[in-house]
């Protein structure tokens, strides 16, 4: 692990005549300084420049939620934001709340509730759930469905996701399974 204030290594950018703008922000508690093309989307910046590939790009127009990250404490679509708009913000991606090589509590509950199949929507969902938990949302709150409406899942039919999220919001703790480390 690098020091918290060490800048990320920037991907090399082959300049093809794009206007570029300097950008300073905090991603997963690390300072990031970069010079990026003005038209670069935040999702592409996080994935291609910073190597944070947990977020997925799916619809690219803000409908599906698979690219959701946390910006200044609120869930947001990284595909409908420009990287340059993020100057001065604090961003958290799934890498920032993950336990390396293991599953965090919410991920265990997703696994236990069969709340995923292909897993493509899961990283985005986990960021929204993270914000719901930070806000202390009650498991039976009407807002739970409201937040989840920002995510499309084509595998599960949503019931199991709702179950997992409610268990997480209720503060349920699952013990680590032995095969997780295998």
């Amino acid at each position: 692990m690098s020091a918290p204030d060490a800048p990320f290594q920037n991907a090399t950018w082959e300049n093809s005549g794009d206007s570029q703008t300097a950008l300073r922000l905090i991603v997963n508690e690390k300072q990031v300084h970069a010079l990026v093309p003005d038209r670069l989307l935040l999702s592409d910046f996080l994935r291609d420049y910073l190597g944070l590939t947990a977020l997925k790009v799916s619809c690219g127009e803000g409908a599906c939620g698979s690219c959701t990250v946390v910006v200044d404490g609120e869930p947001a679509r990284s595909c409908t934001l420009l990287a340059v708009q993020m100057d001065g913000t604090r961003i958290v991606t799934l890498e920032g709340i993950n336990v390396p090589q293991r599953l965090n509590q919410v991920q265990r509950l997703f696994q236990d509730s069969h709340a995923l199949q292909c897993g493509y929507c899961t990283p985005g969902l986990l960021m929204t759930v993270h914000c719901m938990m930070e806000r202390g949302l009650a498991p039976d709150s009407d807002k739970v469905g409201h937040y989840l409406s920002g995510h499309l899942c084509r595998c599960t039919g949503y019931r199991n996701i709702l179950t997992a999220v409610r268990r997480a919001l209720a503060g349920e703790i699952l013990p680590e399974k032995s095969e997780e480390n295998g």
Partner: protein, 306 residues
């Protein structure tokens, strides 16, 4: 990278933004939250030579109030405004409507005034701006701010009548009168989807239960929202307790649309016309249930968002 090339500038002040806008070509655009603009650029439905980001301009991120109105700055985000106590108290119609704008993950970045400027068909905030007699505060080059009513801004079938090369620095909404009821209703295909149709209504009744003043604004039926002036006039002086009075007004409102009913892949114009009647009935019924009380969220409303 999906959008075509453009230049991005972080405007230092509102005046700076207008200055830049005036010296750029006509495809230059103001960028606020960008939740409609960026997808449109990504899909290359539009292209822009220049994007002027106004979110860091001093003074644009504030909400202020006078005796009669609340003014919301151009950089105020929807999620913050939805949770703002002053707005919940004085423009509850707006708080409720914001709960219908896309999803929380979009409202966290989108702005209230951006919604007004973008004027998407079925957009909730323009409809509220009509019902709440909003005034747009528009900055032009010489540093002059002039006012334009929502009614004037949307008095065209598509687009807006906003003057070119100007910036809406804020929008001022009329505060709710102490005894005024309000209702907002929307018909969606699924939660978080765009409105097929939506309706915002306000209502004041006298001691005898007769309509003293009423506003009905409708969105989604036509490309731009409109005030149902004939339906409003028909209701004045009527006994609001009579459900048939409300149904009649809803039919008048749907029929008096100034432009053709919109047909798109989600719904036909004929369906939208029917859905409008239902939406107006719900909005007026909610407004009636909330009359003569100072407390938002009064029981009896039929359209509370789950």
């Amino acid at each position: 990278m999906k959008p075509a090339r453009f230049k991005y500038i972080r405007a230092e002040t509102a005046d700076h933004a207008v200055e830049q806008l005036c010296s750029a070509d006509s495809s230059a655009r103001i960028l606020a939250g960008g939740q409609s603009l960026i997808p449109a650029l990504s899909a290359r439905i539009i292209t822009a030579s220049l994007l002027l980001d106004i979110m860091r301009c001093p003074g644009l991120d504030t909400v202020s109030q006078t005796k009669d109105e609340i003014t919301i700055g151009a950089a105020c985000r929807q999620s913050r405004m939805e949770a703002n106590a002053m707005i919940q108290e004085s423009i509850p119609l707006l708080s409720e409507a914001l709960g219908w704008v896309a999803m929380p993950q979009v409202r966290s970045r989108g702005t209230v005034v951006g919604c007004l400027a973008q004027a998407n068909a079925g957009g909730e905030v323009p409809v509220v701006s009509l019902a709440a007699d909003a005034q747009f505060n528009i900055l032009s080059r010489s540093g002059v701010v002039h006012r334009m009513s929502a009614k004037d801004v949307y008095a065209t079938e598509t687009g807006t009548r906003l003057p070119p090369r100007t910036l809406i620095v804020s929008a001022s909404f009329r505060k709710r009168a102490a005894d005024e009821g309000w209702g907002f209703s929307e018909v969606q295909l699924r939660r978080g989807h765009v409105a097929l149709v939506c309706c915002a209504a306000t209502l004041v009744v006298d001691q005898n239960g007769r309509v003293d003043s009423v506003s009905i604004a409708i969105g989604g039926l036509t490309a731009n929202p409109f005030r149902a002036g004939r339906a409003e006039k028909a209701l004045l002086g009527d006994a609001i307790a009579d459900d048939a009075i409300i149904s009649d007004a809803a039919r008048i409102a749907s029929d008096e649309r100034p432009w053709p009913a919109r047909t798109d892949p989600h719904a036909t114009g004929a369906f939208r016309s029917k859905a409008t009647v239902a939406a107006v009935i719900r909005a007026l019924t909610d407004a009636r249930a909330r009359c003569s009380t100072n407390r938002p969220g009064q029981i009896g409303a039929t359209n509370e968002r789950a």
